[in-house]
């Protein structure tokens, strides 16, 4: 173990940690707003990575077809729920959101597949983040007022369904995308690739973006208000129904970005998302499912521990990473104040 190896391991750990941090943010965000422990977050990462890899290779990804299907189901749900008070304006809004936009994205995917890296990137984020709200409408909105446990079970179900759909749409073999850029600089003995820099930049930007969103915008404040007190938020005129969709759109968007960043670094399979998601989950739990900075720090720690344990004891890597949770949960349950949930 010399300095070069140490630097490599640190770089590897920080890069992976940054990706876990993105996942951790999405989990904290979704939990804060909707009380859903969002297991399928990893699927958004896998969908993002696979969509991006397929677009880059010039194929139309399955998610582009999945989006109009999900949107149509969501539309039927909404039409049924609002059947007694359908107005023209409602129909137009629904039509744009659930028919025009998904079909436009499908059309764009068919036209722009393989054209340029930037187009693939933008399309991937657009398609995958558009899946989020429809997923919420179908799987979670009908249960929005139920207990955390019910929502967790719905989340597990959604995870299983999305994994299955991933197998159908992307096949069993893994995909890998080309790097965003070939750029690379040497820091002493350590080559830092453009991909690494993109990962760090995306994570920092997202932290800043999330801060700005929650502190400075009305939408963000509405989300926070809903998170603190659903009933109170409704009393002051916040549409709490809408907040879940916004949260899931953001989470899916973050997932898509992490997927795009991850796709050139490793092979992604339809079911890879779950394990990556779990590591983000470890970070989010250490952050108490509430604090973004704590989550970020925890995610980097998870990445570093993973990278060093893969050097020293690769057989026990996963064991070491997941065992981290036990002392953290112990400390939290002894020191944290208990807010009894409704269940």
């Amino acid at each position: 173990m010399d300095l070069t190896i140490l630097l490599f391991l640190v770089q590897d750990g920080v890069t992976n940690g940054a990706i876990y941090a993105l996942l951790g943010f999405a989990l904290v965000l979704v939990f804060a707003v909707t009380r859903i422990i969002f297991i399928p977050q990893g699927e958004f990462v896998a969908y993002g990575a696979l969509t991006y890899a397929m677009l880059q290779a010039g194929h139309v990804p399955g998610t582009a077809y999945l989006l109009p299907i999900f949107a149509l189901i969501a539309l039927l749900f909404d039409l049924y729920a609002e059947r007694s008070r359908i107005t023209g304006g409602f129909l137009i809004r629904q039509g744009i959101e659930k028919i025009v936009v998904p079909l436009a994205l499908l059309f764009a995917a068919r036209e722009l597949a393989g054209v340029s890296t930037i187009a693939s990137l933008v399309l991937t984020v657009a398609i995958v983040s558009a899946l989020g709200p429809h997923l919420y409408r179908i799987a979670f909105q009908p249960l929005a007022d139920r207990s955390v446990l019910v929502l967790l079970i719905a989340a597990v179900g959604t995870h299983l369904a999305l994994t299955g759909l991933g197998l159908v749409f992307f096949g069993a073999e893994g995909l890998r995308a080309d790097a965003l850029t070939d750029f690379s600089v040497d820091l002493g003995p350590l080559p830092v690739s453009g991909q690494n820099i993109a990962v760090y930049a995306a994570t920092l930007l997202l932290i800043a973006g999330l801060y700005w969103f929650f502190e400075r915008t009305v939408q963000g404040k509405a989300l926070r208000a809903t998170a603190v007190n659903r009933l109170g938020a409704r009393l002051v005129g916040i549409r709490t129904k809408g907040t879940g969709k916004v949260a899931l759109a953001l989470a899916a968007g973050i997932g898509a970005v992490s997927g795009v960043l991850l796709a050139p670094m490793t092979t992604i399979y339809y079911d890879t998302g779950f394990v990556i998601g779990l590591k983000g989950f470890v970070a989010a739990i250490i952050g108490g499912l509430a604090s973004y900075p704590l989550t970020a720090a925890a995610a980097i720690t998870v990445g570093l521990i993973e990278s060093f344990s893969s050097f020293f004891a690769s057989d026990y890597k996963e064991v070491i990473v997941f065992t981290l949770l036990i002392p953290v949960l112990l400390v939290r349950s002894f020191t944290g104040k208990h807010t009894e949930d409704e269940d």
Binding site: E173, T266, S307, K317
Partner: protein, 382 residues
Amino acid sequence: MKYKFSLLAAACVAALAVSNASVKAEDGVLTVGATLSTTGPAAALGIPEKNALTLVPTEIGGLKVKLIVLDDAGDPTQATTNAKRLINDDKVDVILGSSTTPPTIAVSAVAFDAKVPHFGLGPMPITAGKERYTVVMPQPVPLMAAGLFDHMKKNNVKTVGMIGFSDSWGDLWLGQFKAAADKYGLKLVADERYARADTSVTGQVLKLVAAKPDAVLVAASGTGAALPQATLRERGYKGPIYQTHGAVSQDFIRIAGKAAEGVIMASGPDMLPEGQPDSALTKAPGLALVQAYEPKFGPRNQFAGHPWDAFEVLKRVIPVALKKAKPGTPEFREAIADALVTEKDIGASQGVYNFTATDRYGVDERARIMLTVKDGKFELIK
């Protein structure tokens, strides 16, 4: 309401009658049941196997082949249920499956109890005394390992670093290596593990490179084997890299890209029938498989060969068994089990089978070719 109910009941009775009719053994029909892992973690194996089953002969020895394919998701419990269903309800003459080792063992146990000939599509250990009904299509790991170790010895490799999946595949190869190391004069200098879903193997590769082995052996499968291959080259490892037959696929080349060049792999012969001499018994069945498979389902792979070969074997043993008994009878199934041992040199895409009462793999060196990658294509190592 009453009317509605009686209609429903009538429909149920009709459905029952239909399903009953379908399970009665029909004359002149060979019923083949298969349980494959077409979903779940082994889907990459199960799907090509299912594809290959759409290409197999529809008639053998004058019998119409009736094929029933079920999915066990790689789960031994489900595989057991499927096997029981195929044997008890569908009255199959022969059972195929499953795709990986644990569910294949499960199917084998059911087949042995029911005395139904079974073609395992995943490699599995055969219990002494329970050999009679099961034969295994894939090559046994020691046969493939010998090819790699032999190549190492010939090329003056003395020290080897290993990186493998942290699952039974990795363990199996570590065991093979330890058992054969002395014989080939090899020494293990590093033993690293990773998981298929890992986003990076940098740590493991750094340790391997630091140990300076003459060669590296990657014990992984599918595209998962490409990650250490690429990372090793990225981190400047110059020595030869050996891959197991689990890694041989077009997807491996696609994912590993330039890093795949010069890799040394043991493979089943159906990956490159074109390169084989005309005298090889594996050439014609291999070519037939590749020519049928590739236009319909895309690049060739080693898994499609296993069910295909089960039918190559059936083509030989069914006519023999037919002389003794009729399909759908226990005597016919016994006759198939007998014919499996009496028929010799059965040429198939993945090897030449000579089953005996105790050797249920029945293959020799003809079931192995050595491959490398040159200019993004597989090439035979002579």
